[in-house]
Symmetry: C2
Subunit: 323 residues, 2 copies
Amino acid sequence: MNLADIYINYKEDIKTIERELEKNVQTANPILEDASVHLLRAGGKRIRPVFVLLAAKFGEYDIEKLKHIAVPLELIHMGSLVHDDVIDDAELRRGEKTVKSQWDNRVAMYTGDFIFGKAVETSAIFVNPSIHEIMSNAMVEICLGEIEQIRDQYNWEQNMRHYLRRIKRKTALLIAISSQLGAIASKADPDVQKQLYWFGYYVGMSFQITDDILDFIGTEKQLGKPAGGDLLQGNVTLPALYALTKKPQLKAELNDFFNGSNQDKEHFHKFLEVIKRSGGIEYATKMSDLYLKKAFERLDLLPNIKAKQHLSDIATYIGRRKF
Amino acid sequence: MNLADIYINYKEDIKTIERELEKNVQTANPILEDASVHLLRAGGKRIRPVFVLLAAKFGEYDIEKLKHIAVPLELIHMGSLVHDDVIDDAELRRGEKTVKSQWDNRVAMYTGDFIFGKAVETSAIFVNPSIHEIMSNAMVEICLGEIEQIRDQYNWEQNMRHYLRRIKRKTALLIAISSQLGAIASKADPDVQKQLYWFGYYVGMSFQITDDILDFIGTEKQLGKPAGGDLLQGNVTLPALYALTKKPQLKAELNDFFNGSNQDKEHFHKFLEVIKRSGGIEYATKMSDLYLKKAFERLDLLPNIKAKQHLSDIATYIGRRKF
């Protein structure tokens, strides 16, 4: 089972979302439009919009309403990627040049701002304050996560709690509120809304941990960017955290490497090997599976409709994905 | 008449706004909080919140509701300043170090994002979609203005239309919607809402043109940053535009200067003198006065209440301010 097999059930509505996304970033300004369309066309799994649609199947499904939830959530995600690439000084994402590399940091900053503004604009139609509260709170939390990521860069002393809080803010929260808001907008039962929030949260945690694993074991071709990028940026993810606990001398070695003048590739690859051999990948895989299990437990509490099976299929896919 | 004499009439409510602003930027993250509080304490005239309060006097005035309009508008303004300082590579604002200079560009980017998120969060309580639409549309327009400013930098061929559209997006729009939203939130008559929008718009245009004049004729002490900064950044404002029309050879000279390797201070000051002697200051002053006159015409259409006199006083102050 791959994503396309699931997505085909919602083909028309996913097309509507894509159309709305394109429509939203159309502007009189050619630079902003080019940068935004470039970003849109680079694709992505559109996990957040799809979660909105599937969650809404538990209530009164109306695509005309749902697009005002699905589009802003994908836009918030896209905007945060653009700003993330500025911070990480990233040249490539999904095999395509990033906005900051195709244009520059200034354009990337305002493209992100523009996309955030468009996200808020698209969701303006709702009279239910909860929707605005949940969405804006997520925007704030994502920023807090990014600032924490900056603060914790190259800090080899950080612990698991820091890591988990960071990936919650960076990834899990937005996926959680995608299914929650889909349920709220379709007026699903409050308990269903709650279970869908937690389902999205756990899937998101699992998803990000898998992402962090793949950054170590994926090939450049699979990742669309060079492997080991997280560590090279000083972003300490779960496999590295585990290795640092098992081999405390690694801290000094990493410090020496990053503070030294000779940062050659071969030396850096040695670190990747050490982390891979530490058992960190296996540990992180276990953690990812654990979160996935928790996600399934939440699904079990939901009424048996077709969308529930599809949510389960997507979660399974996310747990097994190799890139 | 200075601002303090007018503000004293709304002392308690302005205090409430200040308290709410501080409360809003409090966060568990010390960097973000420091950067935001630093920004808040640097002050500013709080024109936008005050316009919200005064406009609301034309309807059912309720500070508990109004603070959810006044605070986000000031936050949007503050957030845009932080991102603006990144683009302009500015070291000082209002005599204080900018966020990007006190910390760095990355912190400045996320401080801005965080403040924007908080702005949206604060206004989430409203069930009237117009409020969300107007506010988010302004966020988008401000970005468009900033991107245009980047595109038009060092372009000595641009015309007045470019300049006016840019300052509309950069300044006038947010002041316009401050008085408009104050009137909407207090359920003032729709015609009053409309006149207040235009009043704010014209005041904002006049305000920004005066700002652009002061950048040429103010002292470093008055401005809180070195004079001539706009031109040095390649931002072509009204006095420069006028000079370029009167002295077409200036285009080539400016191009030579900015593309040359020798950009000494003395040579640059010669440009400032040429622009000042071109009649550009007088021309811009006339334009600023013209906008102010249009603002007063809108005020004339409003019911005679005390707040109307105070709006008029503020407009007069803005027209005459020297820094």
